[in-house]
């Protein structure tokens, strides 16, 4: 009886509250808690969604749903002939957010831009180490400490970046999350007060939404920033309901407890699509799932053996069973949505008989090997264990005995890097910035021991990779990368498994949400209809 009463009361309460809604609000069921709200020290997609893409803006911005860039805080820019000087003209009248904890007295200036980068770069700045042990991973990972020579404030609204060498991806790099522009005035104020840590807990930016509150591991609240230079958002309130389990997120969406969710489990997609209240947006993911041979160990050092093993695998069956159709067989190491993707390359056909013969011709008899399976589900490979089992069965048909091995996730990647690793290693990659180099570098000679799990160093490929980095001419780079893909396919250091689709289920009342190829979740321009 008591329980019934509780339910009834809860129901009643829900009805009463339903009538109270007047502000436009969107609830996003997100997958993990952000480490903090400073956009630069952390590198997780969930950190970016909660900080850089909501609260902050950058000099240049990726176009909604694309990998091309447009002016952001910078109105225009010029590049010197040697490609080493980028001069940006800043937009005038850009206001930092006014919050309970900060009231700006001035608009955005070149000083803010300089500070935003130098705090990640100059070790003598107190901001460099304001968070204990911060390595500014992204800034370092993109090579900025070596790339930047100096940042010059020309006048209030002009800032010049001087580089040590030309860098083709410099502009897209400035659209990345770590390059978000923060307020120097706010930083100075905190420095004076000696409360530096507040910088990442009570953020201030120039972005579409301003931070309101964060209940750790539970809820993040934002509201539209009235003074946003891009125009006030249609939503009044944006709420992130942190929900780590994918199945629970799906239930919340169905129950109307959230309006949009990230990363549905492949098994839930059919059910979500069948729900008449929901739309399931989908997009080709900017990713690749692969299996890297150890090209330094016999018999995998022979191209014919690698090719034969590739031909033994029925990729379509894997895509149907593991990706549940939400993917496509991968031919090249870069996804088809990426510029310079070489459409003319044909995949090695699925042909067990030919594979068997090729192995025999290569003198390989009674081969037994290991297949490595990741212990986690990733966007580019939702079930590595199952993939490994299917490859194992396919291999058996051509007389190759395979044993599946797996380790805890961090250990897995560490062991995979060993130069004498035994067996073929499953992994994958999701792009950062839409540049082909951001995929192909995985196979570069200098990535051995880091991200090159094929331990493959091919001179021809490496030369192309370097040539592609040295020019800014897109037509020329396209040609170079098309060639690089040919070399890759000929040499077959990987079994390219699949490019997976990414899904974004949402309530039908959500309008204007564009999926982002880089996997970012952006809510500027989104609205809800009643």
């Amino acid at each position: 009886m008591k329980t019934k009463l509780t339910f009834a009361a809860a129901l009643l309460a829900a009805t009463v509250m339903g009538g109270m809604a007047n502000a436009k609000q969107l609830v996003y069921c997100s997958e993990a808690s952000p480490a903090g709200f400073d956009p630069s020290p952390w590198s997780g997609g969930n950190d970016f969604d909660a900080s850089s893409r909501t609260i902050y803006s950058r000099l240049v911005e990726f176009d909604h749903g694309k990998t091309t860039i447009s002016p952001g805080l910078a109105e225009s820019w010029t590049v010197s002939d040697d490609g080493k000087e980028y001069t940006f003209k800043l937009r005038k009248g850009v206001k930092f957010q006014t919050t309970d904890w900060f009231t700006p007295t001035r608009e955005l200036t070149a000083e803010d831009v300089k500070f935003s980068f130098e705090r990640q770069w100059k070790k003598e700045s107190p901001w460099y180490s304001y968070l204990a042990g911060t390595g500014w991973e992204y800034f370092a990972g993109m090579g900025f400490p070596d790339l930047l020579k100096e940042i010059v404030v020309v006048d209030d609204h002009t800032v010049k970046f001087v580089l040590n060498k030309p860098e083709v991806a410099f502009l897209p790099d400035l659209g990345m999350d770590f390059a978000s522009i923060v307020s120097k005035e706010y930083a100075d104020q905190l420095e004076k007060a000696g409360t530096l840590a507040q910088f990442s807990q009570k953020p201030v930016g120039t972005g579409p939404y301003q931070f309101v509150d964060y209940q750790v591991d539970a809820v993040i609240r934002y509201q539209a920033w009235d003074g946003y230079f891009g125009g006030r958002q249609k939503l009044d309130d944006l709420i992130f309901a942190i929900t780590p389990d994918a199945a629970v997120r799906a239930q919340k969406l169905k129950a109307g407890e959230c309006d949009i969710m990230s990363y549905p489990a492949p098994a839930d997609i059919a059910g979500l699509k069948a729900d008449t209240n929901l739309n399931v947006a989908e997009q080709e993911g900017l990713n690749v799932g692969y299996m890297a041979y150890n090209t330094t160990v016999a018999p995998f050092d022979k191209v014919e053996v690698r090719k034969a093993l590739n031909m033994a695998v029925n990729k379509q069956a894997i895509i149907d069973a593991v990706y549940q159709g939400a993917g496509q067989a991968a031919v090249n190491p870069i996804p088809p949505t990426m510029w310079s993707y070489n459409k003319n390359i044909k995949d090695d056909p699925y042909d067990p008989d030919a594979a068997k013969k090729m192995l025999a011709d290569a003198g390989v008899k009674d081969l037994s090997m290991k297949i490595w399976a990741m212990p986690v589900s990733r966007p580019y490979n939702p079930g590595a264990q199952r993939v490994a089992e299917m490859i194992q069965a396919d291999y058996a048909k051509v007389g190759v005995k395979a044993e599946i091995v797996s380790y805890e996730w961090t250990e897995y990647r560490e062991r995979g890097k060993a130069k004498d690793r035994d067996g073929a290693f499953q992994l994958g990659w999701t792009g950062d910035n839409g540049d082909p180099d951001n995929f192909l570098f995985l196979l570069g000679c200098s990535a051995i021991g880091q991200s090159n799990y094929a331990i493959w160093c091919n001179k021809e490929f490496e030369d192309l990779l370097q040539a592609g980095k040295a020019t800014t001419d897109t037509a020329k780079r396209t040609e170079i990368y098309e060639k690089a893909q040919e070399v890759f396919k000929r040499e077959a250091p990987w079994l390219t498994i699949a490019h997976s689709k990414v899904f974004m289920p949402m309530n039908k009342k959500v309008v204007g949400y564009a999926m982002d190829p880089l996997g970012i979740h952006r809510f500027d321009g989104v609205d809800v209809t009643e």
């Binding site: 009361a9 809860a10 009643l12 750790v216 539970a218 239930q251 990647r413 990535a447």
Partner: protein, 335 residues
């Protein structure tokens, strides 16, 4: 009594050191380290790796690291989280009330249902009620919590729509936490409907978390009661012509209570373990989910200090149980 307490306290000191050492070693025995965990598929260059290891001080001898850790803890400093850069103790205090609230409600459910069910099963030994109760208890005890939680969500929240799916309170209620206990804070907020919203959010997770302790308590109560009911003094009481209610309620139950209380004390550990899964599935912002995240990220500071704090709490609860035990059973005090 005082000596008894002193004796128990004296045992705690070496235990704490043992646990701190185990926690310190355990997280370092895990493959990988915080830097590799952070790097992901991108990997990290050997130079950069060396630099970061140096910065965090992970390259120093373990004995030095442990010594510094212990000295800091004794000074009340539990360190700074490697991933969020916030003080570990502060994070713990923010999240612990949520776990405590959930665990208390779960424990109340487990006791209020488990003990009467165990008594009835013992009294009606061999009856259908006894068999059904013990069958259900065995099922509950073997229930995989994750699956069970999801099942309840799908049925009660998805299909029937009676309870919210996850979270601690409806998102429309936004107020600053005062005590950290949502049931209390929602009342303090004065917002109509807030308390009911908080309560309705508690129902499913507390049932899920209560499942295993409930089963254990019911089974323990039943067997303790059976043992006591076979004692001579119960027979004597019966022969005296006392009413069954008096025999069971006063003579038998009080004596059967001792092992049951011990069991309840031990279930605190089970609750902590269960909280990890329950919190993850119900998006409950407590320390269980916090620990799981920290282990995944190899956040040494959070894991070693978090485990230590949790162990201290479990020990404190067990100490209280021991004292309670001595209050109920005078024989203990003498030993």
């Amino acid at each position: 009594m005082f000596r008894y307490l002193l004796h128990k306290l004296a045992l705690i000191v070496p235990t704490i050191f043992g646990i701190s050492l185990a926690a310190f070693a355990f997280v370092r025995l895990l493959p990988g380290d915080p830097i590799l965990a952070m790097a992901g598929e991108r990997g990290v260059s050997p130079e950069r790796y060396a630099e970061l290891i140096e910065r965090f001080g992970f390259n120093r001898p373990y004995i030095v690291q442990y010594y510094e850790y212990i000295i800091r803890v004794l000074g009340g400093d539990f360190g700074i989280s490697l991933s969020t850069k916030r003080p570990v103790f502060g994070e713990f205090m923010t999240l612990f009330p949520a776990t405590l609230e959930l665990a208390l409600v779960a424990m109340i459910i487990a006791i209020l249902i488990g003990i009467p069910a165990g008594i009835f099963a013992a009294v009606k030994r061999g009856s259908w009620f006894d068999q059904a109760t013990m069958g259900v208890a065995l099922t509950g005890y073997s229930m995989p919590i994750f699956w069970w939680g999801l099942l309840l969500i799908i049925f009660f929240s998805g299909y029937l729509g009676w309870t919210p799916v996850s979270g601690r309170i409806g998102l429309q209620f936004f107020f600053k936490p005062v005590t950290g206990f949502m049931l209390i804070d929602s009342l303090l907020s004065g917002r109509p409907g807030a308390f009911w919203s908080a309560l309705s959010h508690l129902i499913l997770p507390s049932i899920v978390l209560a499942t295993i302790p409930l089963a254990v308590i019911a089974r323990q109560t039943r067997s303790a009661m059976l043992e006591v009911l076979g004692e001579d003094y119960v027979r004597t009481a019966r022969a005296k012509g006392l009413s069954p209610r008096r025999i069971i309620g006063l003579h038998a139950f009080r004596n059967a209570l001792i092992p049951v209380i011990t069991t309840i004390g031990l279930q605190v550990g089970t609750l902590m373990a269960g909280a990890i899964l329950t919190e993850t599935i119900f998006s409950w912002p407590g320390i269980g989910k916090w620990m799981i995240d920290a282990i995944g990220k190899r956040d040494y500071a959070v894991v070693q200090s978090g485990l230590l704090i949790i162990a201290l709490i479990v020990m404190a609860v067990n100490l209280v149980v021991d004292v309670l035990y001595a209050v109920i059973n005078p024989r203990i005090r003498v030993q």
